[in-house]
Amino acid sequence: MSALAKFIIKERQSKSILLMTHVIYGYPTIETSLEMMRIILQKDVSILEVQFPFSDPVADGPIITNGCHKALENKPNLDQCIKDISDLADEFPNSKVLLMSYLNPLLQYGFDALAKAMSPAIAGVIVPDLPIDQSKMVAPLVAANIDPIWLIIPNMDPARMALVCEQAQGLLYCVSRKGVTGKSSSKSNASGQSLETYLAGIRALTTVPLALGFGISSAQQVSEIVGEADVAVVGSALLAAFQRAGIEGFSEKITELVSLG
């Protein structure tokens, strides 16, 4: 079992649900983004997801997309990003740090180089435009114990879901509905299938911990999925909080979110 999985299972013994919160590297500036990560880690959020911005983030909604374009004006460098977040990971051993980005920036860096640069500090990668069928591309990461975190979606073809679960390691990212990041969600997904049924179907195929994502924006919503998912993913909502009320509001939002669990 991967280090990330072990970590989550251990944490879950003391917490009813873990948080995974999202920051864009370089937004609004590289310094401020690092400060936001630090706040998250200081407040004991279990998993920090750092998005290295890409010019064409097709799986993201307007809030994160515009955040990425703003971040790109600060000319973020992937190598430096990995160094920066690796330092944070070392500084906060009680949390795990994941790198999220799109294929092309990673591809240009090269997956062998990426494996070398990320391990051992970074626990996993999320690449929304990397389909399971292309898993061989991330083999060098797997070899370096960096978990590729695959996505599960509602109404997924059973055979395909089995394929994903079979390759799953560390964490499975379960999307609660169709569409891009940042749209508000509800307890039942697009197809009206209940969350319970949805997640139960996945658990039947794997022991890997499950993260539930897309559209969670309040402690209220987090509490609603306690007992169902292992990890609650909060992305756009945090960015929105920052845009509404600055680093203060961002910090308060984290406090609100970690309040339970």
Binding site: F54, S55, D56, P57, V58, A59, D60, G61, P62, T65, N66, H69, L72, K75, P76, N77, L78, Y102, L103, N104, P105, L106, L107, Q108, Y109, P128, D129, L130, P131, I132, D133, Q134, W150, L151, I152, I153, N155, M156, D157, R160, V175, K178, G179, V180, K183
Partner: protein, 407 residues
């Protein structure tokens, strides 16, 4: 047919998992439709009775004499309904959409030509239509936007990123991830995930098939060379594919823009500013920086102003089956004028890239040789760009006048 949508190392499918099933569904319906003679007949029928195919192959006597080299023929896609080759693909995918039982299409557009073609056919097929267009392009190409709206399409300005074609494509993909159940993404060029490159190139291949017959009928031989402009690559694929591997040399002309500086052109070949990359659902040569960020582009013709290129062409170029060249903005204006003055044909600025490339090389060929240049569209749409390029004051006076009167 491609293997898993791969053309050599290019192509493939790199889309968010959420799109997987609708892509599989499309793939299935597409293969099924192409195997159905009734569907093929339906496409041929609409191409003929709605769009006016076959388009002629026009011999240019004056031009050939002035250049003093090869005999020059033009494939007249400008005579298609909507004024460009885009309609060929739109007819194919539009009918496929109906066959799949979907009620809505979405599309990205740069110049607006694909958007207008899609809005036209959507009106005819009774499909709901939403067009994504970069805010910058909307400002540059409003007349096309006007027609899309008149045709009943919803035109969504894309304000993210460079606010041009690639961002419109991203936004269309985002729409698709939440609308795929009733919506087909009618992509406008031979790019994107499987089966789009193959499908669009296939529907456009009617161009090259006609050129084959017409060449035999008109000069009893296959063309020695064929020239086409290359934006996403659909008109080039359309006229090239039926000739791949034959003795006919195939030459693609990209937008050389203002020069080789970053952001000054839209060349994906013969420059190290373009590298193998993966984005927008597929692998190809993308113009990008050292961090893998897709780079800004420029062309006098909005239709060639794109950062990626058809994986089919990227592969054919690697295999030496297609030769890639380019033309600068000013060479394009010269070629545009020359064709207009010598033969009375007003080509689109996109197409004028192919004219520029073809005329440049025709001179050194001998009179026994025949070349075909693809006029992918007509130039009326470019009046604003051209009047500006030529600084035609009476045109501006006309506009001022018009604005005053409409108060």
């Amino acid at each position: 047919m491609s293997d898993q949508g791969y053309f050599g190392q290019y192509g493939g499918s790199f889309i968010p998992e959420i799109l997987y099933s609708s892509q599989q569904q499309l793939l299935h319906h597409y293969r099924d439709a192409m195997a159905d003679p009734k569907f093929i007949t339906q496409i041929k029928h609409e191409m003929q009775h709605y769009s006016g195919r076959p388009t002629p192959l026009t011999f240019c006597g004056n031009l050939s004499a002035e250049i003093g080299g090869a005999q020059i023929y033009l494939k007249r896609e400008d005579l298609n309904h909507s004024g460009a080759h885009k309609m060929n693909n739109v007819i194919g995918q539009g009918l496929l959409t109906k066959r799949m039982g979907k009620k809505r299409v979405i599309a990205e557009t740069g110049a607006g030509q694909h958007g207008v073609a899609t809005a036209l056919l959507s009106a005819r097929l009774g499909l709901e239509c939403t067009i994504y267009m970069g805010a910058h392009d909307i400002a540059r190409q409003y007349p096309n936007v006007f027609w899309m709206k008149q045709l009943g399409a919803t035109v969504v300005p894309v304000t993210s990123g460079s606010q041009t074609l690639k961002d419109a494509l991203d936004e269309a993909l985002r729409d698709w991830t939440s609308s795929f159940e009733d919506t087909h993404y009618l992509i406008g060029t031979s790019c994107g995930c499987e089966p789009f490159p193959e499908m669009v190139a296939g529907f456009q291949s009617v161009i090259g098939e006609e050129v084959k017959d017409q060449s035999m009928a008109q000069f009893s031989a296959m063309p020695d060379k064929i020239y086409a402009c290359v934006g996403g690559g659909s008109n080039a694929c359309g006229i090239f594919l039926p000739f791949v591997g034959s003795d006919t040399e195939l030459v693609g002309i990209e937008a050389g823009g203002r020069g080789d500086g970053i952001g000054q052109h839209a060349k994906r070949f013969n420059t190290d500013q373009a590298q193998f990359g993966i984005s927008q659902g597929y692998a190809t040569k993308f113009i990008q920086d050292d961090q893998g960020q897709l780079a800004p582009t420029h062309s006098i013709s909005a239709g060639l102003d794109y950062v990626g290129v058809s994986p089919i062409l990227a592969d054919l170029s690697d295999r030496g089956l297609v030769r890639m060249s380019s033309a600068l903005d000013e060479e394009v204006i010269v070629a545009f004028k020359k064709l207009m003055r010598s033969e009375g044909i007003i080509a689109a600025l996109e197409s004028s890239h192919a004219i520029a490339g073809g005329l440049k090389e025709a001179a050194s060929l001998d009179p026994q040789q025949n070349i075909v240049i693809n006029v992918s569209g007509r130039g009326d749409k470019d009046i604003f760009t051209i009047a500006k390029a030529l600084d035609d004051q009476p045109f501006n006076d006309f506009l001022r006048n018009y604005l005053e009167e409409s108060h």
